[in-house]
Each structure stands twice: as C-alpha cells, then as structure tokens.
Symmetry: C2
Subunit: 362 residues, 2 copies
C-alpha cells in the first residue's frame, strides 16, 4: 500500500468513534461520552518481556483511567504491520498509535535519532530531565510534526551492554576487520574504527555467531541477552554499552487522532505514558540485575570492560560521527546543539552528585 | 485537637461526597458519577519550588484525568495543619491525602525511614526499582497500614549535597565538636563521629550559621540552597550528600478514603503519583544543574568533596547506625534486610552499567 492509500484509509479508521450518549440531561461534562476504539502497533515480538508487556500495560492503564472510554488494542510486530512499519502506520493514520524507538526511523527522519540514544549521550535520568524540563520533548514534537505524529517518552532500557565478542578488544586496532552486527550510530562509529558492520535479523544472529560469520554482536542488556543464548556461542561479554547509554522508547500517536480527543483522554495518554516511561526503566534495572547474576553464576560467562584507551577512542570517533550526522540538516543540528548543551550543564552537576554516588556508595 | 477528635471529625469529612447523577438511563458506567472533593496537606511552605508546586501539579492532573470528579484542594504547611502534622491529619482522616517525606515520622514509625532515604542507601533510580519491581512499595504499604495510610512514591530530590561548612573536613577527627544542624539518621551518624548535632527551624539556620552558633548545616541541593543564601555565611559547600543519596517524597492517602474510590479514580491517583515521582526528579536535576552553575560562577562558592577517608569512615558509621536503628522492631528489620539485599544485587549490575557511564561518559 502506498502512502496516499494509507492516508486515505487512515482518515476513515482514525475517525471511527462510537458515540455513546449516556445522558440526555444532567451534567454537561457527561452529556456526551464518545467511546474511542484505538489500535496500537509495536516493533516487538508477541510477549516480548518488558517492551511488549510494557506497551500492553500502558493500554490497560488508559482503559482503567477512562472507564473504557478510550480502549487501545495492542498488536505486536508483524500482527498488523511489520515491526518497522510502525512509524508509517501511525503517521498515515491507519492505526492511532504505536510503541517503538525513534532511531529506527533515521532513514526517514535523521533528527529522530537523538530521542532514543546516541553514542556517549545521556543515561535515562539525563534523557528524562532533557525531555521534561529541557527542550527535549518540545524538539521531538517539532521534528515529528511534519509526519503527523505526537511523540511521548515511554520507557527506557537503561544503559545497555557492549555486546558479545569472540575476539578480545585490547585496543582500537582490534576493531579493524572485526565482523560485528551493530545497527545505527554505534555501527557507524565502529565502521570508522575499521570494523565490518553487518545487519542481521534477530533470528539469524545466534547461528552467525556460532558459525563465525560474525565475530561479535550487540543486543540489549543482560535480561534480553540471556534469552537469546549468546553466552553459548560467544567468549566475552563486554561493557559498557557506550553506543546506547539510556535508550528511550517512544509512544507515537497520530496527531489528528490525538487532537480529536477531549482533554481528559489526552491527559490519560500523557500520564500513562509518563508512568510507563518511569516504570519500564525500573523493570529493566530489576531484571538486568537478576539476569546478570544468572549469567555470572550459572552460565559462568566472562565479563570484560572495554579498556580506558578503547573507550577514549570510541568517544572521539563518536563525537566526529555525531557531528557528521548532525550536519545533514538544520533540524538535526538544532537538536544536537540543544542535546549537547543540556548534557554539558547536567554533567557538571552529575560529577558532584551521581558520579560520587556510584564511586563510593554502591 | 487530640487523636480521637481528629478521627471523629475525619469520619465526616472523609465521607463527604457529592452525588451527581448525570444520567437516569443509558450506560451503566456513567449511571452515577459521584464527585469527590478532597483536601491535601503538605509539609512545604506556600509556593516552595518543585515540592509544593509538584504537589499542586499532581492535584491538577488528577482533576484533568477525572474531568473534575475528583478534585484535590492543596494546602501548604501551616495553612490547615502544621508542616509536620501531615501524617496525623491523613491518618485520622481529617484530610484525605498529604505530600511529605516518610522519614519525618521516624518517631511514630521507625520503619518509615527506609522509604525516604538512608545514609549510603540508594539513588533515585535504585529506589524506584525497589518500589516498583522489588518489595519496596509492598513493604511500605504493610508498614503504613497500621496507620490507615496508603503510600505512593511521589517525587525524588535526587542525591543531595553534603552541606555548608565553616570548618574544613579533612579527616573523621574534624567532626569532633563540630556544631552542625543535620536531622535524622545523618545526624545520628555524625553524632557517633563526635559532632554536636542541633535541630533548628528553617528560619533560624542562616543567622545561626552567621553568628557561629553552628559551624555547619545541611539543607537540600543547589537549587534550594541558593535561595537560603547560605553561600553568604559559609565558606565551603561539601559534596556528596552521603546521608541522602536519593530522597523519595511521599503521597499518603487515608486508607478508607482511597478504598472508597471507584477503580478509575484510584487509577488516576496512582498514575498521577507515578508521573509526579518521575517528573519531580527531572525538575530537580535540571534546576540543580542550573543553580550549581550560578553558585560557582556568580557567587564564587568554594566546592569541596569529602575526602575518601571521610566517606569510608561515614560509610562504616552509617552501617552501624542503621543496624542499631533496624534492630528496634521486627518490621524495621524486615524492611532493612530487603532494602540491603536489593541494593546489593542492583549494585553488582550498576557497577558495570551506570558507574561506567558516570566514569567515562559524562
């Protein structure tokens, strides 16, 4: 289906509401209570822990908050549209909302990448401060407006892992010729370092690692990585996830659908999204801590930290890469400038707050 | 007013609802829409940034979510009950809810202290993981049940500052004889170190510091400290706030009032509390970063870090103090055991995640 068809189709579905007059007379506020039946598509497999289950919890919460006046039926990736069809489906209005990650849309919208995570960017706490009390969310709305989308931060993976490796990384030179599966900006950075970057669908990573088609792969963090079984076919588990220090998930809503809602239903969506944004991070922290113990004690994995020299080298290349990518268009430059300025100011404070907590108090 | 009177009075006010029948026939869900008029008391001065304004934002959000079916009138500390009268007022039912901090109630309920912050405890991210996906909130509910209270995490100050000092702290010996205003467990720890701990009302701290009645005081973080003007009368601003690494604020609701609500209004309160819990932390991060810049650039304050030896010494004394305090009753022991076990597991993960972020990426 092309864009025009989707837009046409979307116009019908997006406007489908059930008018349920609940009172002829009485309080004006309740005089007409339209019911809204929405559909949400996600980029996650059915039942995928924390991400898909989080999207479903969000939908349930909206139903509770609105006494069923706004119900959201959630479809996992592939059930209604492909996992990476979420953006187009919501943009066109063929469904009303979606749960995904903005950096998947880099090809359509370069500036989108900053709203998930960028290499050596900010952690979850910093991203949220930028969204809610810096210009982060305002900029995101500005960027997505041209696609008829309203964005809301709706979850965070917390800082990810560096990935699973069958070759040791002792210096930047070790990236030369390394065959690694790593998408996005992280892949661009390692490409600059001389790695041979491949993109593989999730289902092919394990076998490719096992057969030596690739030397390394990144995935998410301990709790999702353990399910993929990579510990069986890779020698080393590296940290930190320098390329994704705190990836924000997104709720995207078709702008027309959002604007057609009465203010209490808009508030229900906004509040439930903020709740999901915070609680998903908590769930990741809890589950990652648990899975890491399992990986270390039961699976006896070998945990390694990228050496200082490597982290310094990656930081330098990341900075160059991000400058390149930001220079592609005016909006990306604007977003990057604001992001970096916010990060700088926050870092000055975090050097005497959170950093000391993690140095001395854990 | 004594406890019995409050309980009696509370029973009347707590049950005061306005039944607004909005439909004689039609949808059952909307057949009877009772209106609830609640009052909230807080421990904060009128207009107090982030804390009082946060409580007011929460009330506004609940009003929006419920189309005014549940409205909450917010009273600052002293307007209806004294700042530290919040617990009793909500417990008795004389008002339906309050915004405060659980460690203020240590005298009535020893176990309450763990739900705000304890010396060398967890930061905001860790506290939230414990509340939402560990046993934190379940334990808090168990502890507060005996006082007819339902608690919800509702804000976090982020890690606080060590305080304003007119004497340098180079070793643990420098705490001997130091006259410092520092309440709670932090005060107990410094008492063990030989400091002379005093408790002063907020309005008297500045003058006491100026006149040498005290040598030091802690307060909150840069954004609230700058308003108090301590930089004019103290030589050194110490970090980190080892005694409060991530203080959670509380929403407390009278249990009977909460249970009398239909499920959608309960959901409105819970969701809005989760939103406040997350966004208040973001606001603190943003405002602290800004105020710190102001203090350093405009006020030229001298920022000092407690030396390693001092932090190690404080950690040891904190551990002993908390063991003492936890041994007072069964419930406190149960809460402390769970808190420490959760922190231990989370720390193992955070050593390879957030710690490395703060070491290398800010």
């Amino acid at each position: 289906m092309n864009r025009r068809d989707l837009l046409k189709k979307g116009a019908v579905i997006g406007g489908a509401v059930v008018a349920a007059k609940v009172a002829g007379a009485g309080s004006k506020a309740f005089a007409t209570q339209k019911k809204y039946r929405w559909r949400m598509v996600t980029s996650w497999p059915p039942g995928f822990p924390i991400l898909q289950t989080g999207a479903e919890r969000f939908a349930k919460r909206v139903g509770e908050l609105t006494q069923g006046r706004l119900t959201i039926q959630v479809y996992a990736g592939g059930e209604l549209v492909p996992p990476l069809g979420v953006f187009d489906a919501v943009s066109s209005g063929s469904v009303q909302c979606g749960h995904s990650a903005s950096y998947y849309w880099a090809g359509k919208c370069n500036a989108a990448q900053w709203f998930t995570s960028i290499p050596f960017g900010m952690d979850a706490q910093g991203m949220n401060a930028w969204f809610y009390y810096g210009n982060g969310l305002k900029l995101w709305e500005e960027v997505y407006k041209q696609f008829n989308l309203v964005p809301r931060p709706a979850g965070n993976t917390s800082i990810q892992m560096g990935g699973w490796f069958n070759k040791k990384i002792n210096s930047m030179a070790d990236f030369k010729g390394l065959k690694m599966r790593i998408p996005g900006l992280g892949g661009k950075v390692l490409g600059k370092a001389g790695a041979a970057i491949t993109l593989l669908p999730a289902g092919e990573i394990y076998t490719s690692l096992e057969r030596g088609v690739i030397d390394a792969t990144e995935w998410v963090g301990p709790c999702h990585d353990i399910r993929m079984g990579f510990y069986k076919v890779a020698k080393y588990y590296y940290y930190p996830g320098w390329h994704e220090p705190g990836s924000t998930l997104e709720l995207i809503i078709n702008k027309k659908a959002y604007e057609s809602l009465p203010s209490d239903l808009k508030a229900a969506i906004d509040t439930a999204a903020a709740e999901l944004n915070s609680k998903m991070l908590s769930e990741f922290e809890k589950e990652n801590a648990k899975a890491l113990t399992g990986l270390l004690k039961d699976k006896k994995i070998k945990l390694l930290r990228f050496p200082d020299e490597v982290l310094k080298g990656l930081k330098k290349l990341s900075y160059e890469t991000i400058q390149d990518v930001a220079s592609k268009d005016k909006l990306s430059r604007k977003v990057n400038d604001d992001f970096q300025a916010f990060k700088k100011k926050l870092s000055d404070w975090n050097k005497i707050s959170e950093k000391v907590y993690y140095d001395f108090m854990i």
